[in-house]
């Protein structure tokens, strides 16, 4: 307690000081506003960049508002998020089970883990054309892609969590006669949960990539398709607005998982997960 407080007060000038959220939020907003202003000025007033190439923020904002009023946008929205959700749920179920099993069993860890590591670091997006070839242009190929891309970070993180579950924690549980299912449910699962959630967070980002890539390659709907089409038509204002939609969706999804993590595993210091490995 004492030492932490000393750091906060007497930290060298370069270290992070106590947060003053308001002040920095204002600064951030000012900088973003400044960027938008320069952008607007460069395009609309000074004509440094052709408007068809980079439309001004006002045009993008107008396109954004227009998008939100279009039914086909919401159709695409539902299409993409539905596939994403199905793929992710499957990935979470399979990922957590496989991760726990491999993390817990030394034999599996030895025989299967190296392959999982290899597959994890493989750019699996390269398999996308084959998925479309096999599963067609519909929902299935996208769901499968989401699953494929999302499942490995979940497996690997859960596995690391299960391995890291302190042996002494397990021993302590055994002393109190906690065994079998109860051991798994009361000790191993909660202890690995923060790791799994970190994996799910990565999995969501990769799953999103899978969904959008699937829509780019075998376009039959979805946000990716809409974006691709707008860019193809050189409707740049709409295309940029679509990119903003994706930025918002991706960040909201991550914020959701973060909130979930704080709620389900409030005891855990998430910095450990993020930079631990």
């Amino acid at each position: 307690m004492t030492t932490i407080s000393i750091e906060a007060v007497n930290a060298p000038p370069l270290r992070r000081h106590r947060r003053l959220p308001d002040k920095w939020a204002w600064l951030l907003m000012a900088v973003v506003a400044g960027i938008l202003l320069v952008w607007e000025a460069a395009v609309s007033w000074l004509h440094l960049v052709p408007e068809s190439f980079l439309p001004p923020p006002t045009a993008v904002a107008a396109a954004f508002v227009e998008l939100l009023g279009r039914p086909d946008f919401w159709q695409a929205f539902v299409f993409s998020l539905q596939n994403l959700a199905i793929g992710l749920v499957l990935a979470v179920i399979v990922g957590v089970i496989v991760g726990l099993a491999v993390g817990w069993s030394p034999v599996l860890r030895f025989t299967v883990a190296p392959f999982l590591w290899l597959l994890y670091s493989t750019p699996k997006v390269a398999l996308a054309p084959l998925f479309i070839l096999v599963l067609g242009l519909g929902n299935e190929s996208k769901i499968a892609l989401v699953f494929l891309l999302a499942v490995f970070p979940i497996i690997l993180n859960t596995m690391e969590g299960a391995v890291t579950v302190n042996a002494s924690l397990v021993n302590a549980a055994r002393v109190y006669n906690v065994n079998g299912v109860a051991l798994g449910w009361k000790v191993i699962f909660p202890a690995t949960l923060p790791y799994s959630l970190a994996g799910i967070q990565r999995g969501v980002a990769l799953g999103f990539t899978g969904e959008v890539l699937g829509e780019f390659l075998g376009g039959a709907g979805g946000l990716g398709h809409l974006l691709e089409f707008a860019a193809y038509q050189f409707e740049m204002a709409e295309a940029i607005a679509m990119v903003f939609v994706m930025v918002i969706v991706a960040n909201l999804l991550l914020a959701l998982i973060s909130a979930l993590r704080k709620r389900l595993a409030p005891w855990y210091d998430d910095r450990q997960v993020m930079y631990g490995a």
């Binding site: 060298p12 817990w104 670091s121 750019p123 042996a167």
Partner: protein, 280 residues
């Protein structure tokens, strides 16, 4: 790879008997041998299931020997060399750009609170969005060719480098900083002799992550907006049902990704030997 060895080294000891204890007792060489046997076994089963018994349609999932043949065809026709050269060029240029921009900006973020507070949220927002979302814009802006590929590789690799460097600066151990101050280090010396070396392991962690993401960015960009490069080769092969060639090309990309990660680790071991595990 260190994470992998850590997984082998540690872990709950309970219930370790029979096969498990035998595996645990193996030397490094013995483990490699067991893994090699495993890989061989896997390939043989795969060959049998697809190639010999024909349980799976080989067009969708070609057998190992077919993939090897496909690889031979790609080499013989010269298309592998031509496309790999283009990919390599785009990857290296894009990655170099990311390093050149990412390290200084990361250092600036780690060293200056206002910069961190402004650039940080913006960087995290862009990083959280899969780079594939920027591909159509990049195509519209940079045309059909190597331009959008370089752009996507750079954007993919930039943020892991930048954010890790910034995090490394910010998490420099306060106790080391105190020691530096006690022994009279100036502000500049604190930077050079405490902050920077502390950041090195984070930099390499970021670079390793960047290698993987850059490769994904490259493949995505080439598949969706280029007529050349490994991604384009994969797409062309798949669309003409030459899946053996597609798989061969995919393996080349995988080997590239894995070996670049190894290169980063090697450079780390060479430039930052203190991060190596204790021997005793």
């Amino acid at each position: 790879m260190s994470a992998m060895s850590a997984i082998f080294a540690s872990g709950p000891n309970i219930g370790r008997r029979g096969l498990a204890s035998w595996l645990a007792g193996l030397s490094a060489g013995g483990r490699a041998a067991v893994l090699a046997v495993e890989v061989l076994l896997l390939l043989v089963v795969w060959q049998l299931v697809v190639g010999v018994w024909g349980l799976v349609n080989p067009v969708f999932f070609p057998a190992p020997l077919d993939i090897a043949r496909g690889f031979g065809e790609l080499v013989a026709s010269g298309s592998l060399a031509a496309n790999a050269a283009i990919s390599l060029q785009a990857w290296l240029i894009g990655f170099a750009l990311a390093v050149v921009v990412g390290i200084p900006v990361g250092l600036l973020m780690g060293g200056s609170l206002p910069v961190d507070k402004v650039v940080g949220p913006i960087a995290w927002t862009i990083y959280a969005t899969p780079t594939i979302a920027y591909q159509p814009l990049s195509k519209a802006w940079f045309g059909f060719g190597i331009g959008p590929v370089i752009f996507l590789v750079t954007v993919s690799a930039l943020f892991p480098i930048l954010l890790n460097v910034a995090a490394g600066m910010r998490t420099t151990s306060p106790s080391l900083l105190r020691a530096g101050r006690v022994y009279g280090a100036s502000r500049f010396e604190l930077y050079r002799k405490v902050f920077l070396p502390s950041t090195v392991p984070f930099l390499f962690a970021g670079l390793r992550q960047a290698v993987v993401l850059a490769t994904i960015g490259m493949v995505v960009a080439e598949m969706t907006g280029s007529s050349s490069g490994m991604g384009a080769l994969i797409i062309k092969a798949a669309n003409t049902y030459q899946t053996d060639q597609a798989f061969a090309a995919i393996f080349v990309v995988v080997i590239w990704s894995v070996s670049m990660t190894q290169v980063v680790s090697l450079v780390e071991r060479w430039t930052a030997p203190w991060t190596r595990k204790a021997r005793r």
